[in-house]
């Protein structure tokens, strides 16, 4: 065998030959070289021995036929609970999402109803009270000097009604949502 570079080259080619990873012409070249070179001849024999021993000691082992049954039995036990648990959780989650959507719709319904009721009450309250002197009110508005007594009573009545209705609406919504 020649220098170390050539040695390495032949080492790799010998191993490729052992693995059957060469074509016919390369195989012939390797065998021809091994026949001429004593070192590579010995080497290829050593590699053959190692290869044969390893192939003999490491057969393509396989599991017995009962293996699948054992795994599937295990799968049909605990994992089935797991699978049903997973679908139960999915159903619960979807149910919760639907409940949230219903709750939001209900809240908006009550808000709209409350707003309508408040508007109606304010209108009724305003209608039941003596009409202010529009001309004087306009003058006051223009002068930016509202009648404190009139505006305070009106605003207080409207605010109280709105707050009362809002509380009633919210209570009704909460009670409905809890059902």
């Amino acid at each position: 065998m020649a220098g170390s570079g050539e040695e390495c080259e032949w080492e790799e080619r010998l191993q490729d030959w052992i693995d059957g990873d060469v074509d016919a012409s390369e195989s012939e070249a390797v065998l021809a070289h091994a026949a001429r070179c004593a070192s590579c001849g010995e080497r290829i024999e050593a590699l053959r021995t190692v290869d044969a021993q390893l192939a003999r000691c490491l057969p393509p082992l396989a599991l017995d036929e009962g293996f699948d049954r054992r795994v599937l039995t295990g799968v049909d036990g605990v994992p089935r609970d797991l699978a049903s648990g997973r679908s139960r959780i999915e159903r619960e989650w979807q149910g919760q999402q639907e409940a949230l959507r219903r709750g939001r719709r209900r809240v908006w319904n009550w808000i709209i109803l409350d707003a309508a009721a408040i508007s109606l009450l304010i209108a009724l309250a305003m209608a039941s009270w003596p009409l202010p002197d529009i001309a004087a009110w306009s003058d006051r508005l223009l002068a930016l000097t509202p009648d404190p007594a009139w505006s305070a009573s009106l605003l207080l009545a409207a605010a109280s009604t709105a707050v009362a209705l809002a509380i009633v609406g919210l209570l009704a919504t909460t009670e409905h949502g809890e059902r």
């Binding site: 040695e7 080492e11 790799e12 191993q15 052992i18 693995d19 059957g20 990873d21 080497r43 050593a46 590699l47 021995t49 190692v50 290869d51 044969a52 021993q53 390893l54 192939a55 003999r56 000691c57 490491l58 057969p59 393509p60 082992l61 396989a62 599991l63 293996f67 699948d68 054992r70 795994v71 599937l72 295990g74 799968v75 994992p79 797991l82 699978a83 997973r86």
Partner: protein, 189 residues
């Protein structure tokens, strides 16, 4: 006429089952295709048949639990081998500390010299296994899997998650290492 299925579509039927939520049928198909490969990978890493069988069962139970979360980004084989390697590594970590097989005192045992003994000699088998145990773990896994997978570099590479070129390089180095253990005067690394 039979159709040739490209390698990347080898598990397309299993993917369809998974998309349909039919996890049990998918698992049965995976069992038929991968059980022996996973088992051999486990043997290459654990070096114990009984433990490898045990951990293979554990791996398929893990797969069963993980199937609904399979995203499909990696191929099924890559995903399965990754789970398998992790399970084997966990098993190795759980083991009690053992005497290192790389210890020179272990290598000096005369039994390793029996590599050149006749193939029919049972002590030769034991000797080769001892030699195998003396290899660094990375070499040992590659050698074991390569021979168990009927000398398939591609299958070995897929199972270990490394390139085919790396499998060949490790295999060649491992053989040189083994020959050197038996014949210290031989060339090699």
């Amino acid at each position: 006429m039979a159709m040739v299925v490209p390698p990347q579509e080898a598990d397309a039927d299993v993917r369809l089952r998974l998309q349909a939520g039919d996890y049990r049928a998918a698992l049965e198909m995976l069992l038929a295709r991968y059980r022996d490969r996973v088992f051999r990978l486990a043997i290459s890493m654990l070096r114990d048949r009984s433990e490898a069988e045990d951990v293979t069962q554990e791996i398929f139970m893990r797969l069963w639990r993980a199937l609904p979360s399979y995203s499909g980004r990696a191929s099924l084989s890559t995903w399965i081998y990754a789970i398998s390697r992790n399970a084997c590594l966990s098993r190795i970590r759980r083991r009690r500390p053992q005497v290192s097989l790389d210890d020179p005192a272990v290598l000096a045992e005369p039994a390793i010299a029996a590599l050149e003994a006749r193939a029919s000699d049972d002590s030769a088998t034991q000797s080769v296994l001892r030699l195998l145990d003396a290899l660094p773990q990375r070499y040992r896994e590659v050698v074991t899997l390569f021979y168990m997978e009927d000398k398939s570099c591609e299958q070995t590479a897929a199972a270990l998650g490394i390139p085919v070129g790396t499998v060949k390089a490790l295999l060649h180095r491992a053989r040189r290492y083994m020959i050197k253990l038996v014949r210290p005067s031989d060339r090699g690394d």
